[in-house]
Symmetry: C2
Subunit: 758 residues, 2 copies
């Protein structure tokens, strides 16, 4: 009895320690990350495995096949993510996925396992999952129906999946090439040998752009020779005599012996074997967007043998190193998790595109290029120009330089900088001229190792080409002749377009000025102020203008919430856009009646529910109070409130689509105490940081100081959420709420001296 009691006692202690979370900090930053954040509330992130900016991502796919077990079905509504925390019916691991986007794409090549009699219908072989766990580079769960544990990890271009068949017996591996998130269809696959498959599946029509299509090539290898294997293909339905004779018609037909190409809309591959209890079967997948040969080369190069531990361990190390660029102290466990998860999400996109041999699909996808620098893809630039690229310039300047070099290569290849690029295809999603801003912003942050003359040429092309030939600015004729874009069609988003051109032209004027082109700089600067055309004195807001030059009437400035169609504005209402002239806030303020009127109006956005924390046009609004030192407390109050309201350690912990890291970048900056409220300007708006101490390790190739330390120190005994005083290096900055990038990165340390009241 004594012995038993002791054991029970010890066990209780262990459990208490585990559940109360007492004791040591986790030693690894990757354990601070919760990859499930953003997997509900339309965050559209996913919990699967990827390495930083890796081409490959592998994630559980659970958005089809069961109306009972799933809340959301990819085909029953607008749906853009392979995984939802609100769903339960798993149908495989999808290979290569988008994170935090608003349109369905990729999320295909579904790998799963089952036991017992082979059934290749995903509505049958799908299963609930339990014991889901994930950290960067690793995800695991149990496939309940089969008591099979699945674990996945990834290298840059390949994945590995370990299926542990806990009970052994007849076991199946299933590769579904028919289903997936993409709206495109059609695949071809063949057995290269008994245990290796190669093929391609068409992807594309992202955001319903019908022509932006591209093949995802793959090579798949299984660790054990299967005595039985083959293809399946769902047969087209037949009628009459044909149907009588063809027993497979309308069903999944199995091809257990054929081994050459199998092509079709709804095809797959299965392997069946007898396993011993707890036998582990590994499946590796390599991908490429150039060719099946390259997918195989990627697989052969990045994985020798089937060493799950090695892949996982290297993925963890890569993440640990990336995350360690910023070390935080203080804050709650949840705040740390929110912060590091945001940093994790920052490093999902853009993705490395080139194969191990340097080959990549050139812009337009018809030719294959060979690159010397990392070639990136997945540029959601309308989102990311605002904060993702500025933050990458600060934290990962080498990545940012390669991304900019990639953008210039795209210009070389296609004649245009990217707008919303996806695997070598311009999807033309959203509006504006965002690349230009990224180029200028990067240059002004001191990342200058790219061809600035070419960059300027590319920028000017977008700014000056006539509309019908202009990929960036299709309504450039109106814009150039009138200084604004009139509303020519009911939902043409004309004001949103023009506002993007103004901030772009302001950036272009900055860049021209830096290159000594004063005349051009003046011209583009003047254009950037054209927003004033839209200013309507009656409402004090920006208002669509009709082709006859008069304001649109009637005009409802609150119309356009929740993606409701709204004349002149894209994904938002007039309030969401009316302060979006980040390059001339003082000018806007003047139009609005000066400081007090401006501040009152801006505050009303938050007070009256016109602030959308989940879409880009207004996300810098909380920081605009910093233009008026007396009002800067509002920024500090609002950012704390917005962080705590919208960013949690839970699946719904991102306010909406993460927008390939843009929402996450907002959280990272905000938690660090500074925000680039005007892209292309190097001035940050400041707010109270979340953590007591933040150490940013700066890349010595780009920055003089090795570190930037951000401290939050209680100015008086009470500490608190507000600050009036800042120390930059050794100097005191009183009543200053905006700080230049150069001052920041050269400071070594900045300290926010906080107090309890505004």
């Amino acid at each position: 009895m004594y012995k038993t009691n002791k054991i029970i006692f010890s066990l209780s202690l262990v459990l208490a320690t585990a559940t109360t979370g007492i004791a040591q900090q986790p030693k690894r930053l990757i354990d601070e990350v919760n990859p499930f954040i953003g997997t509900s509330n339309f965050g559209t992130t996913n919990p699967g495995a990827i390495v930083p900016n890796g081409l490959m991502s592998i994630t559980p796919f659970n958005v089809m096949g069961s109306a009972e077990l799933n809340k959301y079905d990819k085909d029953a509504r607008w749906w853009s993510t392979p995984y939802s925390a609100d769903n339960k019916f798993f149908t495989g691991f999808s290979h290569v996925n988008l994170s935090g986007v608003g349109c369905p794409e990729l999320g295909s090549i579904l790998l799963s396992a089952s036991t017992g009699k082979l059934d290749v219908d995903y509505t049958h072989y799908g299963t609930t999952l339990s014991q889901e766990k994930a950290h960067p580079g690793y995800y695991t769960a149990v496939l309940d129906k089969y008591n099979v544990q699945a674990e996945v990890s990834a290298t840059t271009r390949t994945s590995i999946t370990a299926f542990t068949f806990r009970e052994g017996g007849m076991s199946n591996i299933l590769v579904n090439l028919g289903q997936g998130l993409t709206n495109e269809s059609g695949a071809t696959v063949r057995f290269l040998n008994d245990s290796t498959l190669v093929g391609s599946k068409l992807m594309g029509t992202f955001c319903y752009n019908p022509q932006a299509v591209f093949n995802q090539y793959f090579a798949i290898r299984i660790s054990r020779r299967a005595p039985q294997s083959g293809y399946w293909k769902k047969q087209p339905p037949m009628q009459g005599v044909e149907a009588e004779w063809d027993h497979d018609h309308g069903r999944y037909k199995l091809y257990p012996t054929y081994r050459k190409e199998m092509s079709g809309n709804d095809i797959g591959v299965w392997f069946t074997f007898e396993t011993k209890p707890n036998e582990v079967i590994y499946v590796q997948t390599g991908v490429s967007f150039v060719s099946a040969e390259n997918a195989l080369l990627n697989l052969d190069t990045e994985q020798r043998g089937f060493d799950f531990h090695k892949v996982k361990s290297e993925a963890e190390t890569a993440w640990e190193q990336a995350l360690r660029t910023v070390e935080v102290e203080g804050g709650t466990a949840e705040q740390r998790t929110v912060f590091y998860t945001a940093l994790y999400h920052l490093l999902i996109h853009p993705n490395i595109l080139q194969d191990v041999n340097g080959e990549y699909p050139m812009m337009g996808s018809l030719r294959t290029g060979k690159t010397r620098h990392d070639r990136y893809t997945v540029y959601s630039l309308w989102d990311t120009y605002r904060n993702v690229h500025p933050l990458l310039s600060l934290l990962y300047p080498k990545k940012q330089l390669a991304m900019v070099e990639t953008m210039l290569d795209m210009y070389r290849e296609s004649g245009w900088l990217p707008k919303w690029e996806l695997y070598g295809q311009e999807t033309l999603t959203m509006e504006g001229d965002p690349s230009l801003i990224v180029l200028n912003d990067t240059w002004h942050r001191g990342i200058r190792g790219f061809d600035t003359q070419l960059a300027y040429e590319a920028m000017v092309k977008g700014a000056t080409t006539r509309g019908k030939d202009n990929l960036m600015r299709p309504d450039n004729d109106d814009y150039l002749s009138r200084g604004y874009v009139p509303l020519r069609e009911k939902f043409d988003n004309s004001v949103s377009h023009a506002l993007e051109y103004y901030i772009a032209d302001w950036n272009l004027s900055q860049f021209a000025r830096s290159l000594g082109k004063k005349k051009e700089a003046d011209l583009f600067y003047r254009r950037s102020l054209g927003y004033k055309h839209y200013f309507d004195k009656e409402t004090g807001l920006l208002r669509p203008i009709l082709p006859n030059g008069k304001f649109l009437t009637p005009f409802n400035p609150t119309l356009g919430r929740d993606f409701e169609p709204n004349p002149g504005f894209h994904e938002g209402n007039s309030w969401n856009y009316s302060f979006f002239v980040p390059h001339d806030i003082k000018g806007l303020s003047k139009l609005m009646g000066g400081e007090q009127a401006f501040v009152r109006k801006l505050q009303s956005v938050f007070d009256e529910g016109n602030y959308d924390p989940a879409n880009e046009p207004d996300i810098a609004y909380p920081y605009l109070f910093t233009y008026y030192p007396k009002e800067a407390w509002r920024t500090q109050q609002l950012t704390k409130k917005l962080l705590s309201e919208h960013f949690h350690n839970s699946p719904s912990g991102i306010p909406g689509n993460d927008d390939t890291g843009t929402m996450s970048a907002w959280a990272i900056y905000t938690m660090m105490g500074f925000y680039p409220d005007c892209p292309g300007s190097t001035t940050y708006a400041l707010t109270t940081p979340t953590f007591e101490r933040i150490t940013i390790h700066l890349d010595p190739d780009y920055y003089t100081q090795k570190k930037l330390i951000v401290e939050k120190r209680a100015a008086s005994g009470d500490g608190g959420d507000y600050f009036h005083t800042l120390e930059v290096g050794n100097k005191l900055y009183k009543s200053t709420y905006r700080l230049d990038h150069n001052s920041l990165v050269n400071a070594g340390k900045i300290a926010f001296l906080t107090q309890g009241k505004p």
Copy 2:
């Protein structure tokens, strides 16, 4: 006036000459052939272009897309040919087709043209044809809807199509990879360059054997660069929000810019350009059953440039040479056309399978072999062992030897001789052990340059392996233990199976005897007489036996006409099979009660409508009277009647499925005056030839005589349809109606002395 009159006069003369067909014999034998014979009445031949035994055939496809214009639709009934003379709605030229078969297969990769706005829906772009003309190696017609003339020709592995856009203007070339005769589906294609496509389309499930599938690889080249081109793919239907956003859902989507792989169930490729009036666009297609690379190599090797005239001219020459093996004099124009068309149909199948580099899909299609001799495919052996291969041995012994070598290679590769082989796949269509018979028959006709030991081994394997492992004789256990196959399932075709094994075993005994294996020869000979088990004294016919050894009761010997299911018999009734013991007619005759009873019963088959001229089991029946010299006039009377009733110069001029030349071989032999009524025996039954003089040019590598001349000479002044006397060489054969192969081929000349009455 005078002048005008003269012109009219001249023109009338020309027209009169043309329409009355006066004047010269056509100089070319190819002009005697009417490729439209067999394109109605379920002959299932097609009028397209092919070279003798060529891998490529290209033919108009008109069996889908219009319920109004077509009498038959491939999907509305059992349908097995790409072309019907009863239909009118053309949807393209299909590449690689089967001729004279009873199951749907191949007949895909549909090439067509249109003018005006591009429309890729075949129900729209299809058109009626007019001015159809064809001769061996050439077919032409006008696509009415577009006033485009299409002409096609072929080399061994490639085709060329010339589209003459008579009116010019916006013109389209369409390659439909989704539709076709095959019941399989799924294709993949890609642009190799602006004017070249490569890809594959899955074929198979011939006669609803679900696993006999194989890819047809193709390379397609167009003579002009098209300013616009691309893929199409019919999109799967979507529902709800997806359907609202994806405007292509459920429709044919065009992909005008994408150029890498396109895969799916219903895809195609289009080219659009402006043509001048009468501009000709050429499209070449190469095929392979090994790889797309080989398809391209075949195309590059067999066609340089776009020289339609050269391809056509070489195809015509090849046919002219092949047809000239037999020269006939006398007979009517229709008889000559029937004869040469039959000879043409004899040389469609089997087809050369190897690519120009010697590669071919080994039996089972999983490996690629390299051959030194011509490798053949499309072995419909249940049909062709009866007369096609004996006739090829006589007329084209080199082809026949390569076919036999191919069959032995198939044994080497797969462990089995072929039964119904299709592009490296055993389709297991029909029953019996037919290869064995072909091997023995070929050897006995003096074509012996193959490995006889291996042949014997292969033959014995089929004859002796137990049923469950026996591809040839699945019911071999019963057969070996009982000497017959009992009816174990209602429609198991047990009697038909056993009858095939008897004739096979008789052949095997012949072969064993020739190799000096007397004991084995005796054993197999005894087995070949097992048919006697089935002889039912009550009806005097062969009757199914139940597993308990008793005859099936009730028993209706006329049940089974017109493919009506019938216990014990396959595609026929007891009457169609009861005389099918060609190796022991005298024994059968004895069972039936001797000569008179036998003759009476045999005659009743014809008199009472139990003779099926369109299916194999009874096609030698008319010749069986020759076993009794006094009754041989019946053979002469019947064969003349059957020829005139069932073989005409019209689309319905073949009595039913040509069965890859078997019906045609029946007509050729019959019109020449001799028939191999017992395959494997070298004795021909004789009948009155159709022509006054027939010159058969014998291959000097195999035959001592250069020629065999068959003459029909009037014995008395009146001439006529019957003969009693035959001259063989210089010797008179009186009252002899059966003649040995060796006597025939060494005779130099045989003469039938005819008279008007039996």
